[in-house]
């Protein structure tokens, strides 16, 4: 038997689908170290004065320590927290990372191959 759907049927189906998807509330992926980054931005200016040129090791809302080298901060982080995320960052870090080949999408660009 062939069943024909009217425009109203299709509309109702679509509304039903949207309602279903909305109710499911797809949970967005949590960004790692959100708490640590917030804590860092709240204290960066103070740490810049107190620990100029150093790397901080932060876990949650705690400044675990300051280090001369990132490697030392990472080793201490691994010793304390194992594979759990922890934050190691220079107190002077300001700008975004810029990798021209990725930013411009020219990693495999070939002018000799026209499209």
């Amino acid at each position: 038997m062939i069943k024909f759907f009217t425009a109203a049927d299709n509309c109702a189906r679509l509304i039903g689908l949207i309602t279903c998807l909305t109710k499911r509330r797809i949970k967005p992926m949590a960004e790692p170290l959100a708490e640590e980054r917030k804590f860092f931005s709240e204290h960066q200016s103070e740490w810049k004065d107190a620990h100029a040129g150093k790397f901080v090791l932060v876990k949650g809302n705690e400044l675990v320590g300051t280090f001369n080298r990132a490697e030392d901060a990472i080793a201490e982080g691994a010793r304390r927290f194992g594979k759990e995320p922890f934050m190691v960052r220079s107190v002077d870090q300001e700008k975004d990372i810029y990798i021209p080949a990725l930013a411009l999408g020219i990693l495999n660009a070939r002018s000799s191959q026209p499209v």
């Binding site: 960004e31 790692p32 170290l33 980054r37 990132a70 490697e71 030392d72 990472i74 080793a75 982080g77 691994a78 010793r79 927290f81 194992g82 594979k83 759990e84 995320p85 922890f86 934050m87 190691v88 960052r89 870090q93 975004d96 990372i97 810029y98 990798i99 021209p100 080949a101 990725l102 930013a103 411009l104 999408g105 020219i106 990693l107 495999n108 070939r110």
Partner: protein
């Protein structure tokens, strides 16, 4: 000082399907300065994890492109996840498809196959490189430990650590 010298080679097909050798200089232009490397968790993290009796994933091998335009080394995100690398920071990075987006930072160790020494890159930035056939972009943080000679005429790269 260990030295790795490599000349690039490749083959192509003519219009009638005949396989011919391509000049090393052309291969280097097309492929770029790529090396076979292994990526592993950084030494300082691996040491601590082993002390704690935790497992450390074995190194993953693949191709890495030397990128003198990159200040920091990038590691393929999928590779980083397979290695179970700890996330030690999140930074914002511009890409071709996004103005600026958050990306994870991982502590890695890069070993260039043919050279006996591994170099730690404590702050390698995650990026989707697998689609390009790469597992890493070797930036200036790695190159600061090396001497590199790029011979475009002969299609050769010499790297010393």
């Amino acid at each position: 000082m260990p030295v790795l010298h490599s000349q690039f080679s490749g083959e192509g097909k003519t219009k009638d399907g005949q396989v011919v050798k391509v000049a090393p200089a052309i291969v280097l232009v097309q492929r770029g300065p790529v090396f076979q490397v292994t990526i592993a968790i950084a030494d300082q993290v691996a040491t601590e994890l082993i002390k704690q009796g935790k497992t450390v994933q074995p190194a993953i091998s693949g191709l890495a492109l030397i990128d003198t335009g990159a200040s920091v080394t990038c590691v393929d995100d999928e590779t980083a996840q397979k290695l179970q690398l700890p996330v030690i920071d999140v930074v914002r990075m511009a890409s071709a498809s996004h103005v600026s987006h958050p990306t994870n930072v991982y502590p890695i160790k890069v070993t260039i196959v043919g050279l006996p020494i591994g170099i730690n890159a404590p702050r390698a930035v995650g990026a989707a490189l697998k689609t390009q056939g790469l597992i890493a972009l070797l930036g200036r943080d790695i190159l600061m430990h090396c001497t590199m000679h790029y011979n475009g005429v002969a299609g050769e790269i010499t790297l010393a650590i």
